[in-house]
């Protein structure tokens, strides 16, 4: 997975948990919280959807890694690439 694909994964999750947000102009280098109305409940959901959909675990200490799309991609892409290939 590339970092861009990873950003798309995160955006798709946000689109599902916050369908009332306009995601067409999300800046990758700006904190998500500063451009979207996302609260701690929503961030919990991003983490939980990552686990549910892809089996990716984000421990609580790492939640801040999901602050922006760029930081999310930096943090999550290696995790995606370390997943065992689907048989």
């Amino acid at each position: 997975m590339t970092k861009d694909e990873c950003k798309k994964v995160v955006l798709d999750i946000i689109a599902d948990i916050a369908p009332d947000e306009d995601l067409s102009n999300v800046k990758p280098d700006v904190r998500l919280r500063d451009q979207l109305q996302l609260d701690s409940m929503d961030f919990l959901d991003i983490v939980m959807e990552l686990r549910k959909r892809y089996g990716i675990e984000v421990p609580e200490a790492d939640y801040m890694q999901l602050a922006s799309l760029d930081s999310s991609a930096n943090y999550l892409t290696p995790k995606f690439n370390a997943l065992p290939a689907k048989s």
Binding site: A18, D20, Q37, M41, D42, L44, D45, R51, K52
Partner: protein
């Protein structure tokens, strides 16, 4: 060849008869269903156990003579229009993956707070906060600055904090609103729609209700509460949640400080890693069976209500009652929110005319509905012989109508309401306990709230009224918060 282990595999056990769940939820009301949706969505094996044959708990509906009657919900509070973010309704929709279209909420026309023998002082309010503000500016010009300061305090208050310290709402409000009449008028709807304590309430609870009623607003689906319940049930089912109806939990078996098993009404036994109870704090404490003496549970709440429902053969507008959605009334300057000494306190109450929501230009409810709610004393209703109970209901039905009519526009003829009446029904505190299991008919639960929802057992948590988020949006958020806080955020 069949080997023994295969028979015990979970795949062969029919749905709804497993004996172990990740989470067992007691009660299929709004909070239990909301908790269930969250947990099932994230892969937990969940089952809701409900003693009654329908879902909804305190906010449900029943059929009588071919009609569906809503109970509980007059209006859904916390209404905000699309685009308004960061409010409880928005959080609820997101967390449960519900779209606005699914609830299809229709807004109120206007509501009023009417005080005095015939409602001489009347404050209108609607889903536009400016209406209430201008009414106060006009009728209480000396109070408007204080009122605006109060609104600022309310807006700045963190009402969803799970560890806030209790403060008296009366004391805090009086720092800003110094005219007792205005103070009582502001408290009347707030208390009627959510206070579990008499006379005063905790400021955090006041803030939740103030926002829900005045800063946000009222709406309802065209078909009433059952639309909301249907959406919740569909989400829960689609997420893989199970439920067992007409199957309450008789006991919670406690071992070593944990809920070790649930004994069901049908005699069966199930186990669960976590148990969420939505049935109330004292009600839950009563289920726990352990070897040692249980910790004292909070006393059941003292506030209960009677409600009359009158079905009319015409739209209420034809009787001149077409503008008010909800009217909160009190026939003097001082509002007493307390358990009455007698059966009912008809001095104050809430009128709801469900026809007066804005359902769009070509749509109206097929019949007129006129509901009236007053404070009532559970003890004065609970133990009456059947015949006396019926006679008292009959007597109070008439008294409630008479009391409420003082605050509505004068009818074209004195007998116009009677002539338009098709059928009536009435519930009492006894009805509440009979159908919901809530002790003492306490609609808003125990006076003392338990924000974190913890109990004496490590894996048993409370959600719903006794956790302390109010209203039906609050009830659902309570289920969501407790599922998130105790289970999803920790696993």
């Amino acid at each position: 060849m069949v080997f023994p282990g295969f028979l015990a595999s979970p795949f062969l056990i029919p749905v709804n008869s497993r004996s172990h769940y990740d989470v067992a939820i007691i009660g299929a009301g709004m909070s239990g269903l909301a908790a269930g949706i969250r947990l099932a969505h994230f892969g937990k094996r969940v089952c809701i156990f409900e003693r009654h044959n329908t879902v909804g708990g305190l906010n449900s509906f029943y059929s009588l003579g071919g009609r569906k009657f809503d109970v509980g919900l007059h209006a859904m509070t916390n209404f905000v229009r699309p685009g308004v973010k960061g409010t409880p309704l928005g959080k609820l929709l997101r967390q449960l993956r519900i779209t606005r279209e699914e609830f299809a909420l229709c807004e109120q026309k206007q509501s009023r707070i009417a005080f005095g023998p015939h409602g001489e002082t009347s404050l209108r309010f609607s889903n536009d906060f400016a209406v209430l503000e201008s009414e106060i500016a006009r009728q209480f010009p000396k109070q408007i600055d204080g009122f605006r300061r109060l609104v600022d305090v309310v807006k700045a208050y963190d009402d969803v904090s799970l560890d806030a310290q209790p403060t008296s709402a009366r004391t805090l409000v009086r720092q800003h609103v110094t005219d007792p009449l205005l103070e009582h008028m502001l408290f009347c709807p707030v208390m009627y729609y959510g206070s579990s304590s008499e006379h005063d309430m905790e400021f955090g609870q006041f803030v939740i209700m103030f926002k829900a009623l005045y800063l946000e607003g009222f709406a309802r689906p065209f078909d009433g509460v059952r639309v909301i319940l249907r959406v919740l049930l569909e989400k829960y089912r689609a997420a893989g949640g199970e439920r067992r109806m007409k199957c309450g939990v008789k006991h919670i078996v406690a071992r070593e400080g944990r809920a070790a098993a649930l004994v069901l009404d049908d005699g069966g036994e199930v186990t669960a890693d976590h148990v969420i109870s939505s049935i109330g704090a004292p009600e839950t404490a009563r289920l726990v069976q352990s070897g040692h003496r249980p910790q004292p549970a909070p006393a059941p709440g003292r506030l209960s209500f009677v409600e009359t429902i009158t079905i009319l053969d015409r739209q209420p507008a034809e009787l001149g009652w077409g503008s008010d959605t909800i009217v909160f009334f009190n026939d003097s300057a001082k509002f007493d929110y307390a358990c009455p000494d007698g059966q009912v306190d008809p001095r104050s109450g809430v009128i709801c005319i469900p026809n007066n929501f804005d359902y769009g230009p070509d749509r109206q409810l097929s019949e007129g509905i006129f509901r009236c709610t007053c404070l009532a004393n559970y003890e004065q209703w609970a133990h009456l012989p059947e015949e006396t109970y019926r006679a008292d209901k009959h007597r109070w039905y008439a008294a409630l109508q008479e009391s409420a009519r003082r605050f509505l526009p004068k009818l074209p003829t004195p007998d116009a309401l009677t002539r338009a009446t098709v059928t009536t029904d009435m519930f009492t505190p006894r009805t509440v306990t009979k159908f919901t299991g809530h002790l003492a008919g306490a609609i808003y639960g125990a006076a003392e709230k338990n924000r974190q929802g913890r109990t004496e057992l490590a894996n048993l948590y409370l959600c719903g009224t006794d956790q302390g988020f109010l209203g039906i949006v609050g009830a659902m958020l309570s289920g969501i918060s407790m599922a998130n806080y105790h289970i999803l955020a920790k696993t």
